[in-house]
Symmetry: C2
Subunit: 348 residues, 2 copies
Amino acid sequence: MIVRRLSKPITVGTVTVGGDAPIVVQSMTKTDTRNIPATVAQIKELADCGCEIVRVAVPDTEAAQSISTIKKNTSIPLIADIHFDYRLALAALKGGADGLRLNPGNISDVSQIAKVVQAANERETPIRIGINAGSLPPTPKPYSSIANHMVSVALEQINLLEGLDFDLIKVSLKAFDVPATIKAYTIIAKKIPYPLHLGITEAGLPKTGAVRSAVGIGILLHEGIGDTIRVSLSDHPCEEVNTAYEILKSLDLRQHGPTLISCPACGRAEVDIISLAQSVDKSLRGITKPIKVAVMGCVVNGPGEAQDADVGIACGKGRGAIFSKGKVIRTVDETDFLQALMAEVKNL
Amino acid sequence: MIVRRLSKPITVGTVTVGGDAPIVVQSMTKTDTRNIPATVAQIKELADCGCEIVRVAVPDTEAAQSISTIKKNTSIPLIADIHFDYRLALAALKGGADGLRLNPGNISDVSQIAKVVQAANERETPIRIGINAGSLPPTPKPYSSIANHMVSVALEQINLLEGLDFDLIKVSLKAFDVPATIKAYTIIAKKIPYPLHLGITEAGLPKTGAVRSAVGIGILLHEGIGDTIRVSLSDHPCEEVNTAYEILKSLDLRQHGPTLISCPACGRAEVDIISLAQSVDKSLRGITKPIKVAVMGCVVNGPGEAQDADVGIACGKGRGAIFSKGKVIRTVDETDFLQALMAEVKNL
């Protein structure tokens, strides 16, 4: 149903972004990059929860110099996030960064950018042109919209890089404003061949930020736009990764562990379906296989959903029917709901 | 940017659904409807958190008979959720329900449906044709897709109601599968003039269910489809309402209380921005004015976002700049961040 925009793939370390590669999930460390053990530990946590590319902030020379040691002790590709000072980009490349993110809003000197591009070209290291509505360069005359301003800055920077014979480019155009973000990506998607990195910037705390990110990123992915995504949440970065996979899973674009179908409960349910769903969710942690498990509270949609899932339970008063691969396996008492369901999960 | 599909408005109690009315937020009680005090209390909680229409399950006669007392003690329009037994619909109408939800998957007898429609017509009470992928009626030959099956059942039921001279119709076509849901609503949106009630059914626990709902409902709303939404979560119904508003707010379709813009934190931040964002979020509770508050951790996007918000803080090492309506009001020490920011919020 989704017809994906065709983009020119690039390689970030060992990971392909763009073309027909799976949509890549990335995040960013929240540790002080100069604190090498803490940063390495967080990157390992991120790799364990499914993060495929990690970005680290490089605010100073010490942070840039930490990259080589961090790289030696971690497995996923590492991108250096650079602002203000082009020399930090050079140092990060020297340290072995697999990619750079440059912000045209705060590095604008053409000769400085040329030095970075030359060093990146020698190493075949890609650069993300990372536009952010919160840090756009000053403009002599105002644009008609934030989206147009973001697109214009990106196109100018792309033009500059192409003129320097560099095309290992990835582009992002992030705003907190979802309609502005959608508009910007929709415009640029038709104008350039490069892969797009999607995100809603500064989306906020986990609950509200996840919803805002899901709406913005979800709409773009459904339009076929986007080759890699980063969900920005004021929370542990693994929450960003989990949310990113939930977005991708909901559109059948990636698989990632079990999916729980559970009814919201209502006055019809005769068991505490919310508690049961929570217990099942806990029991499913650690399972990596992409199975569908349904926990349903009554006879209205219960049998239908339980039948469609790989494993399911449709509960009635004190008894529940356990389904596996579309068939009722047995009926069990309420005290056995969790155990019986998980036994069938293990049987898969 | 969003061009809304034009639908024929209906009135549910005092609330208009469809036409150019604001997109209505609804939820469903999770109490036993026969437990009148518990149900009344939950409806009051729902009204307080912004729920505009509430649905209650009506699994038996006692539940149907509870409606008149529940109605007398609550203020928002009430919809009776009916399955299997048309007589419960008649009893709910008699009790003063402001709307009915009928499921063609489990009430199919034409003469029974005709009796309900006649009673609804006499009271000018709307009926939602509530299709659910988990409870579709059996079909002699399989459809090419769930979406087509849902649409076909809905169209047949609409035809039946129209033939009985009834047009106070609202339609929903819910599935857990997001692409199937999107496809179904997209097809029917072009075929009928009636308002559409959106939802992703059995979306699951709050975190994953909110993301799945945001993707599905967000994509449809962005296409201009949808007149009322219900987010289904295995959680307290006020969480459903909060999530619904976050979806609508992210697309600028509704306003609802403060919006917090907060950066995800990274190795560049020199203050604990996540804790600060959490504290600000807590302090903003109870405020109903739709203000934008930005909590930012560094100089990259901090000043830009803080400037764009109604009130904001851009933090540096030990000091932060407080913004109000786009201007720096003062700089404060780290110990005063929260207090100074909230003082400006109160000044609005």
